[in-house]
Amino acid sequence: MAGRWFVIFSFIIGFIPSTWGEEPFRTFTASSGQAFAGRVLSYEGQTFYIQGKDKKLYPVPFKQLSQDDQKYLIQIAKEGKIPKGDPRNLDISAKPASADSAPSPSEKKAEQATITKTKSKLRKGSFFAYKPVNLGQDPSLSMEAKKVVSLPGPDEPVDFTNHVLPILEEKCQSCHNAPYDKNGRTIHPKAGLRLDTYEWVMKGNLDDTVVEAGSLENSYLYEVITLDEEDDMFMPPKGGALSAEQIDAIKRWIEEGAKPSSGASGVTTNDMSKGISFHDHIFPLMEERCLDCHGEPYVKNGRTIHPKAGLRLDTYEWIIKGNLDGTIVEKGNAEESTLYAVITLDSDDPEIMPPKGEPLTEEEIGMFKQWITEGAKENPSDMFVQAKEDVASAKPADHEKVISLVDQLSKRLKPPSKPQMEAAQKSGALVTLLSTRHSMVRAEFSSGPNSIKNDAIGALSGIKNNVSHLDLSRTSVTDGVLSEVKKFNNLTWLNLKNTSITDRGIEKLASMPYLTYLNLVSSKVSDQCIKSIETLTKLEELYLWNSDVSEQGIARLRKALPETKILH
């Protein structure tokens, strides 16, 4: 057998000259042990195109091959001996190899078992050539030929539409796409996450955003594609990992600020920077999207059809006037304007306007927002002066709002990243953000508190500035733990109920700047702790029931902290 291979080798090497220096035939072994003969023509990502002796082309996933083969392929790819891309597109037609090298029947079987055959090209107009069309999408659009997919060059900035979207299309959108109809049931995207447009990618899902511009660490999208393949959260779960080039493209896109495609938004931003004109920007949009329902009353079959909700949007005066419920445009304040509110609702909210068709795009919504913020004027003269005045007059009102202490603290900090949260959970604590998009967290030992000792708190030190609420009640901690707790600078709420904490522990808490709640119910503290508690000037609530603090002690505390609610 070996002798015969040798003959074929030498024969081919001498026979075929080519621009790419065609690779010789060799025996490839699959990791399952089966072998076949072929030569490499080109590669694309993780797939190598190997021509068999039967002159057919086999795309073979890199990972299916044995280690020796992998080494060989890496080497020739590095040396640039084989081109990138699908050989059928590259047009280096696989030249016929020697005719006498037909593989034996047993080899043929092996090939069929290990290698997926390329699909034969579908006849034009064939039923199977149609792609499924998503709900609410124009079928003619989805039938359009796909744009040529290219990976960004090393110095080229990554463009969302040209570089990132095709990767998402290939690898993610079979699960993370717009809801579509299957056998009468709507199939929603997995994990409620859509990756089919820029807006959706940036929006993320109910849990959180998946991309944070400029931060790989906070971008969950990047995290899941770079996990270990064995990991449960590894994406994509089927169909193999993204190639290194694809991962690199996504990485660079996020690092460059996760911008939308420059081609799409460039024009409108320039346009908008001159200011929004009612007649040029707003009214044409209204005409297209709103006037079907909110137009002039008209007569149909002898009946007068009035605009819906008694609201007309067909002239500037009517838009400003609103309907019986009130005005819909609050000049200078988009957030307070009903018009702006209804177009920015979630796309599945029953109240969203327009109720039919696609929601307004981000740019269109941006136009409305800017128009209202600039004073919702019919003619855009002096609008910048006006806008500035509005902003100036709006500011003091904002400051009058009472913002709670934790919210103030939250504004100074970044929310903890996912890995930081996971590390903190190692303490055995349940660690949760106070609310979505809040920076402060609450840590509580809700399960099996008996087994929690002083050392558990060490795992929380990675996010010590973010912990505002700490519940150590019912745990087995002792006084020592409070010297660690002292380092949680922004702690506002501390529960030490049913612990063996004594006065010596409370001493360590003296002068904590933001502590507003302290629960010492059923702990071992006595009158000795009073002088430490007196230093907690921000304290609003103090619970001392079932502790050893005496009546006199309470009286002294009430004198020192007259504003504090003290229960005993």
Partner: protein, 217 residues
């Protein structure tokens, strides 16, 4: 045996099964189950709450809240007073009053009331008209709900009923959705987020209700 099997077939599915068994055993042996043991409470506590089912239920509820259970429901029947309304309501109220005041006091002493919302409600009220058997029948157009604790502005009356208990005065109707929205708002739940049931039906926590900010602190 499990371990040796796992050695031989170290697969995700096999690991998942052993994890399931381990979790079940962990739950059965958990220290946390002591939260359910109300015999650990002193005798005065039992008396404070009242030794009725509802009273003891409230005592258990407090123990669970102390152990950081997120949601506890205590129910009390006996309100379908088609007959003999006045005697039945008097007995019921005695029971409820004792247990509820004990619960509020106990939660407050332990520093828990500010972050626990206590809701006492029913699915409908009773007719303003007394029927021939001295009873009152079903009346969904107006009835009382009691909210206390975390997030609630104490002492507020919203949507007071007219003299006969027929309809709310001043037109301040509150529908169940608004009550749910009020509770959800105080709990910090997102009102606008759409969740999907396993069959794909969309719903939000409080349907189309909006919170009654008049009763929220």
């Amino acid at each position: 045996m499990n371990a040796s099997y796992l050695n031989q077939y170290d697969q995700k599915q096999v690991r998942a099964y052993s994890d399931l068994y381990k979790d079940a055993i962990k739950l059965m042996r958990s220290e946390d189950l002591k939260a359910f043991d109300i015999t650990q409470e002193p005798e005065q506590m039992h008396e404070l709450y009242g030794k009725s089912n509802f009273g003891q239920g409230c005592l258990l509820a407090r123990r669970l809240i102390e152990n950081q259970v997120r949601y506890v429901e205590v129910s009390r029947g006996g309100w379908d007073t088609h007959d003999n309304n006045f005697e039945a309501v008097a007995t019921n109220c005695l029971d409820i009053d004792k247990a509820l005041s004990a619960l509020l006091l106990d939660l407050e002493m332990r520093g828990l009331l500010k972050e626990t919302m206590v809701v006492l409600t029913s699915e409908f009220g009773r007719t303003p008209k007394i029927n021939p058997r001295d009873g009152r029948d079903h009346w969904p157009y107006g009835f009382s709900t009691f909210l206390a604790g975390g997030g609630i502005k104490g002492g507020t009356v919203y949507g007071k009923m007219d003299k006969v208990g027929r309809n709310p005065e001043e037109g301040k109707f509150v529908d169940p959705a608004s009550l749910n929205a009020t509770i959800a708002h105080a709990l910090g739940l997102p009102l606008n987020d759409v969740q999907y049931s396993p069959s794909g039906r969309p719903f939000t926590v409080a349907h189309d209700g909006s919170p009654l900010f008049e009763v929220l602190a």
